[in-house]
């Protein structure tokens, strides 16, 4: 794989690491050891495969968005339908993998954070299925704007704990989840929802999300007899994007674009575009791109999409950015909401606000490309959860 050989353990180039309190270091080592062992274990693999197919509904199809392709008269647009999974987003892939890992490790209690609520719902569902206790931390602001998901988590038996510190969004929910984990380290597994946090989390989560790209590659080769020209995915922490990109990284002709939340515009300062507005820094255990002030205080972010509203990004993305393999860009709230409507009206599919960022950029790109090009956009989640947000006329 694309990776420099000199990488220090737990690093992707200059990014990554394990910047956590001492209490967590031994548990992280145990997690890494268990993961390495179980990843090759036949019984574990069979059980995970069964969960992914029977419980989560994999494989998900790729779907040719014919109406939009016709209208734009440019590149062919395919959607990777992660919105069709059980609980409605790609988050279930990682939640199932890690919850099973926790169960094999003998942990009885699952801690999770959630932004949009999709990871929280997925974790609540797999915890219920596997008979594990589940506690989900969620920023008070996010609970307000993603009410349907709060109800779903509660119905699935999870305890949802509102977080009122800081910006009351995903960042603060992660702080609280880590505090819980430090306190209950012997009984609990922290089921982080994205390719974030200290090593080995970014690798574990990526490997559980790789299935998106593995399937997409097989499917596009079947339909088009060739690889796509572009992959487009939205990026909060970066799990749906790395999941789609990873198996294509060595296919040099496939271009990849990660779409961050431009919020109210980069100039407004109210956004979550880490690669445009941020610089290297340390947050939640990992060294990556971070939105921060000149003294290193983490700054507040804004996005209409709770799942993208986060001041840092997975360290592997920082690496892929540094070597120029993936291009990172952003679209504004307004553009994302337009795409949300457009996909609903034209294709009959309601995307999550998060995924709508990828759709917005993908459509812009498709319109500029000739008809013989192929784009796959990761439709990472469904948008039912966003219907209560006032999106104006």
């Amino acid at each position: 794989m694309i990776k420099s050989k000199k990488d220090k353990k737990g690093y992707f180039g200059d990014f990554g690491g394990q910047f956590v309190p001492e209490t967590l270091m031994t548990p992280l080592k145990e997690l890494e050891d268990s993961y390495i062992k179980l990843w090759r274990d036949k019984r574990f693999k069979a059980e995970l495969d069964e969960m992914l197919s029977g419980f989560a509904g994999r494989p998900t199809p790729i779907y040719f968005a014919g109406n939009l392709t016709d209208q734009l008269n440019g590149a062919k647009i395919y959607l990777k339908r992660e919105d069709l999974t059980h609980t409605g987003a790609h988050k279930i892939n990682n939640a199932a993998g890690q919850a099973l890992l926790a169960k094999y490790m003998g942990k009885k209690r699952i801690i999770a954070e959630t932004g949009a609520g999709q990871h929280g719902v997925a974790t609540s569902a797999v915890s219920a299925a596997l008979g594990l206790e589940c506690v989900v931390y969620m920023g008070a602001v996010d609970m307000e704007r993603q009410q349907p998901n709060v109800k779903r988590m509660q119905l699935l038996g999870a305890k949802v704990i509102p977080v009122n510190s800081g910006s009351k969004t995903l960042k603060d929910a992660i702080n609280e989840a880590i505090r819980d984990w430090v306190t209950n380290i012997r009984t609990s597994h922290y089921l982080i929802g994205s390719v974030l946090g200290p090593h080995p989390y970014p690798i574990i989560v990526r490997n559980f999300q790789r299935v998106i790209g593995t399937e997409a590659k097989k499917q596009i080769l079947q339909k088009e007899k060739r690889l796509p020209d572009y992959l487009v995915a939205s990026i909060g922490g970066g799990s749906n994007s790395i999941g789609l990109f990873y198996d294509f990284l060595n296919d040099n002709k496939v271009r990849m674009i990660g779409v961050e939340a431009g919020g109210r515009g980069i100039k407004s300062g109210k956004h979550a575009a880490r690669f445009t507005g941020g610089r290297p820094g340390i947050l939640h255990g990992t060294l990556s791109y971070v939105l921060q002030d000149k003294f290193g205080q983490i700054t507040e972010t804004h996005s209409v999409a709770a799942g993208l509203d986060y001041p840092s990004v997975g360290p592997e993305h920082a690496y892929l950015h540094s070597i120029g393999r993936v291009q990172y860009t952003s679209v504004t709230d307004k553009e994302a909401i337009e795409a949300f409507r457009l996909l609903s009206e034209m294709e009959g599919i309601i995307p999550a606000f998060e995924s709508a960022h990828a759709i917005a950029y993908g459509l812009k790109l498709a319109g500029k490309l000739p008809k013989n090009k192929i784009i796959i956009i990761n439709l990472s989640g469904r948008g039912d959860k966003d219907l209560l947000t006032n999106i104006g006329k």
Binding site: K9, G10, G17, Q18, F19, V20, P21, E22, T23, L24, M25, T26, P27, S165, G166, K171, D172, N175, I178, R179, V182, T183, N184, I185, R186, P280, G281, I282, L283, H284, G285, L287, V290, Q292, K294, F295, G296, Q297, I298
Partner: protein, 267 residues
């Protein structure tokens, strides 16, 4: 040039001096700039009279090793306009009336953003004796330790109940000044009692090292301190319990803090 001061350990002298009298060293923890610059300086004047050494936290937006009390202090301080440069100014002001050893507690990103070398250089110039970065474990610590040693500042490390013997051996290669024992699994914040696990932990560590050992996290009562003293601890760090008094008496907390410290019986 490496400038490691192996002799003349100001922490060692402060611990030894206090321990000779049969008492443990008292190290209060305050967040710099809480509730504001002037208020904090006044509080420092008060606690310095009773302290054998001080621990001062750089306020941070995301202090994930801290419980709600210290988090709230960080927020008050940042809201009052504190930043890294102003913390250094405050400590310089503190140095005009206090010559006791000072440990800075600072989260990794603040050091990283300031630049490792400039940060430790500034610490040395300001009169900070030791620096503890709670989210930099031994695996990530080499650049931090090197910068500290270059400027004659002691890298302070935390030990926790999950620290294995092999990790402990690694940590002891780099730790200087004293060891910070985290009494409980969890974040900072007052607790009513300490369990047997804590005292077994103290005994385990004391067998392995000759460095002074200070106990922190959750210390708020005389009985806890008495028990830890019997277990052989050299010092106690008291943070959240003091900061809670500041929070509840924001206009004039000094007298109440003084009374609390006297009750601890550590002065």
């Amino acid at each position: 040039m490496m400038k490691i001061k192996t002799e003349n350990n100001s922490f060692r002298r402060a611990f030894d001096g206090k321990n000779k009298s049969g008492k443990v060293a008292f190290m209060p923890f305050l967040v710099a700039g809480d509730p504001d610059y002037a208020g904090c300086l006044k509080m420092l004047k008060t606690v310095t009279r009773y302290a054998d050494m001080l621990e001062i936290g750089f306020p941070y937006s995301d202090p994930l090793a801290d419980g709600p009390t210290i988090q709230a202090a960080d927020e008050r301080s940042l809201k009052a306009g504190m930043n890294t440069d102003k913390v250094f100014n405050l400590i310089r002001d503190l140095r005009s009336f206090c010559n006791k050893p000072i440990t800075a507690l600072v989260y990794a990103n603040l050091v990283y953003r300031y630049g490792l070398d400039p940060f430790y250089k500034k610490c040395a110039r300001t009169g900070i004796n030791g620096v503890l970065v709670p989210d930099v474990p031994i695996e990530e610590s080499i650049p931090f330790v090197n910068a500290a040693n270059r400027h004659g500042v002691y890298p302070i490390f935390m030990l926790t109940q999950t620290t294995t013997d092999s990790r402990l051996k690694e940590i002891l290669k780099y730790a200087r000044g004293y060891l910070y024992l985290v009494s409980v699994l969890g974040v900072t914040g007052s607790r009513n009692s300490l369990g047997n696990e804590t005292f077994e932990f103290i005994e385990r560590i004391k067998k392995i090292t000759t460095l002074p050992v200070a106990l922190g996290f959750g210390i708020s009562k005389k009985e806890q301190i008495d028990k830890a003293t019997k277990a052989g601890i050299n010092g106690v760090i008291v943070g959240s319990a003091i900061i809670k008094i500041i929070e509840l008496n924001i206009k004039n907390p000094c007298l109440k803090v003084e009374k609390f410290i006297k009750e601890l019986g550590v002065a």
